[in-house]
Amino acid sequence: MTTAISVTDLTKVYGERSALSHATFEVPLGTVCGFVGPNGSGKTTTIRMLLGLIQPTGGTGTVLGESIAHPERYLPRVGAMIEGPAFYPALSGAENLKVLASLGGFPQERVGLLLEQVGLGDRGGSKYKTYSLGMKQRLGIAAALLPNPKLLVLDEPTNGLDPSGIQEVRNLIKDLASDGTSVFVSSHLLSELEMIAESLVMLREGKVLFAGRTKDLLAAQTATLIARPEFSVDLNTLAEIATKHGHTAIVEDGAVHISGEADWGAAFNRLAFNAGVTLAALQVTQPTLEETFFEMTGE
């Protein structure tokens, strides 16, 4: 088994509406895989199908080597937080976890350890209804960790968390991955995913736009050269040089922004020098995951 999740042609249709259409992707074992897409793109539907909560209309899939038609075979090894935390308001955080521990047959002693791990050690006895959004989110993550999972499925785990909370979740995910846990995480915080996700699955309108390694996705994107001449009168000359060599150039904020391969920078510098233009600065920027996402999804 080399994949934590593998789906082929996974489809879910509600009446006339297709929530997920022939999705095919793999999540390598022991890695962090980001799951991104605009709202309504089918992320939660996919996660629910992987967890046996809804039945696919078509297609097949495996989780930890077992068919998604038999979730009982893999769910004891899977931790999940779907569409935010959901607990019993009248019970304390600890009692809520104990309910789930009883249900899954996990040792009750894990509850205290997990509450400490997610930073709720001192509030475990407080009723869930008194928790802030961030605390609820932390409790949701603790619940997902109850089975000591081989695969962790997290749907928007950083919702409602402050920057330090986001950083803690990021570190937690990294630690889990370094211990061999596979993490499939859906998030709108693309800058966070860019830091932790080795692979990505990108959805739009129920279709997979990209599934593969994050660095391959980013490397395939066109870089931007930002050239700032010593004298602003040379801006148009630089733009003309770039255009003449088949690149798109825009003059903006006292610099020329040129779309092109990163390694064209040296050639461009030479061309500018030959044209009598001295560059005060030449910077090559790769698009971020966020920019790539907007570019690909058309959002």
Binding site: R48, G52, E72, L91, L100, L103, G104, G105, P147
Partner: protein
């Protein structure tokens, strides 16, 4: 299934639910039993539906359980509310998805929850019995009721039989509540439908068209606790109630097994 039952019992024993339910059951039992004994010599109606229960009647073996069984209907309504709310809230709180991730077998979830709620219902019946019997003994001398017959073997046997019947009635109402909870997936809708149907609609229907009494579920559930009535036999009520509940439960169990959990 036992893991699900243990998890459900943990929820059922939360103080807000447990204490409030015990208080309601105890208060209703105390009220109804006290009325029976305190008004036994008044010549006015002190029993079910204005029936006059004299001290002589209460001095028989059935005097021990009379107060206990007349509250069975309200005990049933309490069970209906608890079962309906415990089932439907899993949908409204979104906690059903957590349960199903930890226990993917939906039938085990259903069976475990149902078993835990039956244990809860039996505990309610036990509290009802203790309060009713305690008050009956406490008020017997004040009502000029002799308790000698209560502690005879036939009195104890009647107590056991009544306990079993009240328990069946409470579980039947509770099961009806669970069916409504699974059907409506909202505690408010399930409880409102169950209470309005059993408390209001069945009473109106039964009063307007008396022949319907034989077929009304709530009236038949309660008739089990009463050990049958002049018009509807105990065995009829038992068979009809079982029929209604088995059909209803089978339908909602199939729905529960097949429905997508999308909330």
């Amino acid at each position: 299934m036992f893991n699900v039952m243990r998890a459900e019992l943990r929820k059922l024993r939360r103080p807000t639910l447990l204490i409030s339910t015990i208080l309601v059951v105890s208060a209703l039992t105390a009220l109804f039993t006290s009325i029976v004994f305190l008004r036994a010599n008044s010549g006015a109606g002190n029993g079910q539906r204005g029936e006059i229960v004299s001290p002589a009647t209460l001095s028989q073996a059935m005097g021990l359980v009379y107060g206990f069984k007349i509250v069975s209907f309200f005990l049933g309504i309490t069970a209906l509310c608890v079962f309906a709310s415990q089932t439907a809230q899993e949908y409204t709180l979104g906690t059903l998805r957590n349960l199903l991730v930890r226990q993917p077998s939906r039938m085990k979830i259903l069976a475990g929850k149902y078993s835990a709620m039956i244990i809860f219902a039996i505990a309610l019946v036990f509290i009802d019995a203790v309060v009713a019997i305690g008050i009956s003994f406490g008020l017997a001398s004040h009502a000029k009721v002799t308790t000698t017959a209560w502690l005879t073997s036939s009195g104890i046997a009647l107590l056991g039989k009544t306990f079993a019947n009240v328990m069946l009635t409470t579980i039947a109402f509770g099961t009806f509540g669970m069916i409504l909870g699974l059907l409506f997936r909202s505690p408010i809708s399930a409880i409102a439908t169950g209470v309005i149907w059993t408390l209001i609609l069945e009473s109106i229907l039964g009063a307007v068209v008396s022949s319907t009494q034989k077929w009304l579920p709530g009236q038949n559930f309660d008739n089990i606790a009463q050990g049958g009535s002049d018009t509807v036999s105990y065995h009829w009520s038992l068979a009809l109630s079982a029929g209604y509940l088995i059909v209803g439960f089978t339908i909602v169990a199939v729905l529960f097994k097949r429905r997508d959990v999308a909330n």
